[in-house]
């Protein structure tokens, strides 16, 4: 039911590490080992290169779009230990900020929900996680969680903005009192939840289930009810779905989605949090959906044949 509809020619000279659509699905940002970040206009099925951003001195691992209410802003992180925040102004992209506070490769960047303002979490191989907050006057406020994951942090993902109590209880015109939370995964095989309390970041939960490096974590968008769901995947081939119904957020239960034969690289939730896409070392992208009785089932499996990735050689890139 899901098939490859388009092959995007990025003309990256080396491996592509990440590709992210913006909020509206009209622009695509990609990054690669060739040290570049590229932005494409992909409206109406086309692809026009809008910008080729140079600034990193190593492979660029991830890119992340900020919410469009703050303008066109993109964050990128690299092996060169830098995080660069790029901004488009009058059609041209420039560095808005360069963060050099990590001592090792920065592996993951993720913008918080727009309700929190411009806030970026960065996970690094130095084991630390930095949280950068734009303070409005061009300044970025930096908070760092040292030693978040021993040996290194591989992924960060924000929780959706959930308001404690009812919306209407909020005095009008005042910002609701959101709890800021995010999840991280690292080389200590752990999934950790972090929570801001009185302006300080504290470890909220430590979720143990994986037996090897956690490669990716994804906090599901909450549509409907404030039940929290997190997906994590690991080098050990396992994908877990963590859920918490408890409003205080203390009781998390793990459910094994699947054990794959090879490493699982990434997990990604669809916009409504209904489908989980999982990519693994077996070159398959599988889509998973929770059935009525709470069981996760694979609903689609895109691999060679459709994606034809396995048989793609440099000479034959135009399969549909």
């Amino acid at each position: 039911m899901v098939s490859v509809i388009n092959t995007v020619d990025t003309s990256h000279e080396d491996m592509i590490h990440d590709a992210q659509m913006d909020y509206y699905g009209t622009r695509l940002a990609t990054c690669s080992s060739d040290r570049s970040v590229k932005i494409f206009d992909v409206k109406n099925g086309g692809q026009i290169l809008l910008a080729d951003l140079r600034g990193h001195e190593g492979p660029v691992w991830q890119v992340a779009w900020a919410h469009p209410m703050y303008g066109n802003i993109l964050a990128s992180c690299s092996y060169d230990r830098k995080v660069i925040i790029w901004k488009e102004e009058n059609g041209s992209w420039d560095k808005m900020y360069e963060y050099t506070g990590h001592d090792s490769s920065v592996n993951s960047v993720c913008w918080g929900p727009y309700d929190f303002g411009l806030i970026l979490a960065c996970g690094s191989s130095d084991g630390a996680i930095s949280i950068l907050t734009f303070s409005g006057d061009g300044q970025w406020d930096i908070k760092k969680i040292s030693n978040a994951h021993t040996i290194g942090c591989n992924a960060v993902s924000w929780a959706p903005a959930v308001v404690p109590g009812s919306l209407i209880d909020q005095p009008t015109g005042q910002k609701p009192n959101y709890i800021k939370r995010f999840v991280s995964g690292g080389c200590d095989n752990l999934v950790k939840l972090w929570k801001e309390e009185d302006g300080q970041w504290k470890e909220d939960q430590k979720l143990e289930a994986h037996s090897d490096w956690v490669r990716d974590v994804g906090w599901a968008p909450s549509i409907g009810l404030p039940t929290s769901t997190i997906a994590s995947c690991s080098q050990d081939g396992r994908v877990f779905i963590w859920t918490c119904d408890d409003p205080s957020g203390n009781t998390w239960t793990a459910k094994l989605l699947h054990k794959f034969q090879d490493v699982v690289w990434h997990v990604s939730w669809s916009i409504t949090g209904n489908i989980l896409a999982v990519s693994g070392g077996d070159n398959k992208v599988t889509l998973w959906k929770e059935s009525l009785d709470g069981q996760w089932a694979c609903i689609s499996d895109v691999n060679k044949g459709q994606g034809a990735v396995s048989s793609v050689t440099d000479g034959q890139q135009n399969e549909q």
Partner: protein
């Protein structure tokens, strides 16, 4: 290539050719299976590819190592190092008038016989062939031969050297005994490779050290003592980076800091047999150990950045099993140009074409498309246009519905919509507040119920079926869609509309429940004779016409057993009704395939004041648990209704329907429920992400009409 274990070499220029060498040389061509009929002699290498044997060469015995001539022409020229130290030029599948004919069979013979361990062609000056030999105390172990020493010296080799090297082949014309350079006296050479930095630099794995020989000044060499002297190989993407190994350990060297390895990889339990950099991808090193069925990969992407040495490079280790039958791998070779592709060969010469899959990065877009990056390729996936409606993801459905103006304007939309089919009723009727509170509450408030026993219509026969009536019950029947407005209890319009829609069984059942057997039979007959009619309906009509209320009759006996075999739920409940004891209608009430509204309407007619609320409560809870929107009929848009909607949203994620349902007929309080607010906000966010500004504006207008307290939140400007 120790013993007769097969090794494999890709042609440097013909991307579809490789050679397997054990005791002989076999040239294969690899191609896709689909392109040609499977022929005899074609060996499948994978699901898509197969190999064809093109030529065999068994002219050169005692092979120890083989190296493929690096230039385009002459193609298929191979140098073979032998156990006696001789190096022989040979070829495979050559056309007889080939350019290299005169090179064939040429031999390069060292002064003292001993094993030739390794060969390396100079990538620039392809006439230079370096051979590494075992130790001999009176001889050199690295010999650089000039294969052109007999023929046109079109490169600048000093005339004197040519003369010298040609000295020995006066007798046969084919044997060369004088090398161009001799290096490494009284030493052993186990591995060799030319450095891409300069055509005169040769890196050699000697007995106890790695040495860089500079041919411009052969008396000088740079060296570093190490045990890791086997399999020296330069990273094709970072020319300063070299890998070598010793037993189970791989050392990675940076030639700019040649004192010690920049890193050593985790030791493997068995001795390594091959180490090779991936030619199509930076920093990917494949290693193989003896008797192993896995290729171990080290991803060193990040190591060669110009940062300096403080950073501890993170190396990602991975094992891949190329053979599906887990057989042991004798050797492997990367394809020179196809991304991450290799062919592996097993000790019994079985070959497998295999691709190492990269980290696949994934990201959903807002319009249910999935971006998927793999290697240098990027794919966009989406739900196909052809996907069946019910299989589509709710996000796709909601987007489509929003595009089609779902829920905004007319009652008609709701009528068409399967899930919300009943809600239009709520827009009308006198007891507005009661209507919104759902049948559950309506029934509870019911009073002054009258009981009557009516005759079957069109007959004088008395029924023993008690029918109950009250104002509230009539209202419930209206909500169920059975009767119209007004005091009359007349199902005829409803029957007509069902007939129009071809719902024959349902119409017949409704007629029957209204004690009109004749009408039921008439409907069934009509249904049977309609276009695409089911003739079985006539049979059912016939069975109906035989109805008797005689308890012990054969008719009754047959009907109560046979009705269970009826597949259509409405036919089934008709006979259940006719064969039930009065007041015991479980066969109708709990037939879950019958629409909730029909069962509720039925209950309102035939259950007494104590049975009815019990049944409705039970059904309501069932609906709430299942998140079945039909249940809204029972709960109304009360807190109960929101509970029900909650389980519906939990189940489907369809915040769109939920938002609209609540907004459509909400009396106010319910809209203020946090859950409802949450759905509404979520739906507005979705509309934003889809750039359906107009739809969102319409939604907000609609919302403020129904719920004046909801002023749309101040909008942040959208920079688009």
């Amino acid at each position: 290539m120790s013993g007769s274990k097969p090794d494999i070499l890709w042609s440097p220029h013909h991307v579809d050719r490789y050679v397997i060498c054990d005791s002989e040389l076999s040239l294969y061509r690899i191609g896709s299976i689909g392109s040609a009929e499977p022929k005899a002699g074609t060996l499948p290498l994978s699901q898509e590819t197969a190999a064809t044997l093109l030529a065999i060469n068994s002219d050169t015995p005692y092979m120890k190592c083989v190296a493929w001539y690096p230039k385009h022409e002459p193609e298929c020229l191979l140098a073979v190092g032998q156990a006696n130290g001789r190096v022989v030029l040979t070829s495979l599948g050559q056309s007889p008038n080939s350019k290299c004919k005169e090179l064939m069979g040429r031999e390069f013979v060292p002064k003292h016989a001993r094993q030739c361990n390794t060969l390396a062609w100079n990538p620039w000056d392809s006439n230079w062939l370096a051979a590494g030999l075992d130790k001999h105390r009176a001889d050199f172990s690295v010999l650089i031969w000039d294969i052109s020493s007999k023929y046109a010296p079109d490169i600048a080799v000093p005339m004197e050297k040519i003369r010298l090297s040609s000295a020995g082949d006066t007798d046969s014309g084919l044997v060369v005994t004088k090398p161009l350079y001799e290096l490494g006296q009284n030493d052993a050479c186990l591995s060799l490779c030319w450095l891409p930095r300069d055509q005169k630099l040769l890196l050699a794995g000697m007995h106890r050290n790695l040495a860089i020989f500079d041919l411009r000044n052969t008396s000088q060499k740079t060296f570093v003592n190490t045990k890791a002297i086997q399999g020296v190989t330069v990273d094709p993407h970072f020319h300063e980076r070299v890998a070598s190994f010793f037993e189970g350990q791989v050392a990675i060297w940076d030639l700019r800091k040649f004192e010690k390895p920049v890193l050593t990889l985790t030791e493997q339990p068995k001795p390594l047999t091959k180490v090779a950099w991936c030619p199509t991808r930076t920093g990917l090193l494949a290693t193989l150990t003896r008797d192993s069925n896995v290729v171990r990969l080290y991803d060193m992407q990040h190591a060669p950045t110009p940062i300096g040495d403080e950073t501890e490079p993170t190396i990602i280790e991975r094992s891949v099993q190329p053979c599906s039958d887990n057989s042991v791998i004798s050797s492997f070779a990367w394809h020179p140009s196809a991304q991450n592709r290799m062919v592996v060969v097993s000790p019994n010469r079985a070959m497998t074409d295999f691709t190492v899959f990269e980290r696949i990065s994934l990201a959903w877009g807002s319009t249910t498309s999935l971006m998927w990056a793999c290697g240098r390729h990027l794919y966009e996936c989406a739900e196909g246009e052809g996907a069946a409606e019910k299989d589509r993801d709710i996000a796709t459905k909601m987007r489509q519905r929003a595009q089609n103006g779902y829920g905004h304007d007319t009652v008609q939309v709701w009528r068409n919509h399967l899930l919300a089919g009943d809600l239009e009723q709520k827009q009308q009727g006198p007891k507005q507040s009661l209507i919104y509170s759902g049948i559950k509450n309506i029934v509870k408030s019911s009073s002054g119920t009258t009981e009557n026993r009516r005759c079957w219509r069109g007959s004088d026969r008395q029924t023993d079926v008690a029918r109950y009536q009250s104002e509230e019950r009539s209202l419930a029947l209206r909500l169920c869609g059975w009767i119209g407005r007004g005091p009359e209890v007349d199902v005829e319009p409803f029957l007509k509309s069902l007939e129009l829609e071809g719902e024959w069984e349902r119409a017949a059942a409704v007629a029957l429940f209204n004690l009109d057997i004749r009408r039921a039979i008439q409907i069934l007959n009509k249904g049977a004779s309609s276009e695409k009619g089911d003739l079985n309906l006539n049979v059912v009509a016939m069975a109906l016409s035989g109805y008797t209320d005689e308890k012990k009759s054969l008719w009754r006996e047959m009907c109560s057993t046979l009705r269970l075999q009826l597949k259509k739920p409405y036919l089934c409940v008709m006979f259940a009704f006719l064969t039930s004891e009065p007041g015991a209608y479980d066969g109708v009430l709990y037939e879950s395939s019958v629409a909730v509204r029909d069962r509720v309407a039925f209950a309102c007619m035939f259950l007494n004041d104590s049975q009815l609320p019990r049944y409705i409560d039970k059904l309501t809870n069932e609906m709430k648990e299942a998140g079945n929107l039909e249940g809204i009929l029972l709960t109304g848009l009360t807190k109960d209704g929101v509970d029900l909607m909650e389980s519906y949203v939990d189940r489907t994620g369809d915040v769109q329907t939920a938002s609209f349902c609540v907004l459509m007929g909400s009396p106010g309080d319910v809209v203020k429920d946090t859950r409802v607010q949450c759905w509404i906000e979520n739906y507005r966010n979705l509309l934003d992400a889809w750039r359906f500004w107009h739809k969102r504006a319409e939604f907000d207008i609609h919302r403020s009409k129904l719920d004046p307290s909801s002023k749309p939140l101040a909008q942040a400007s959208d920079h688009t």
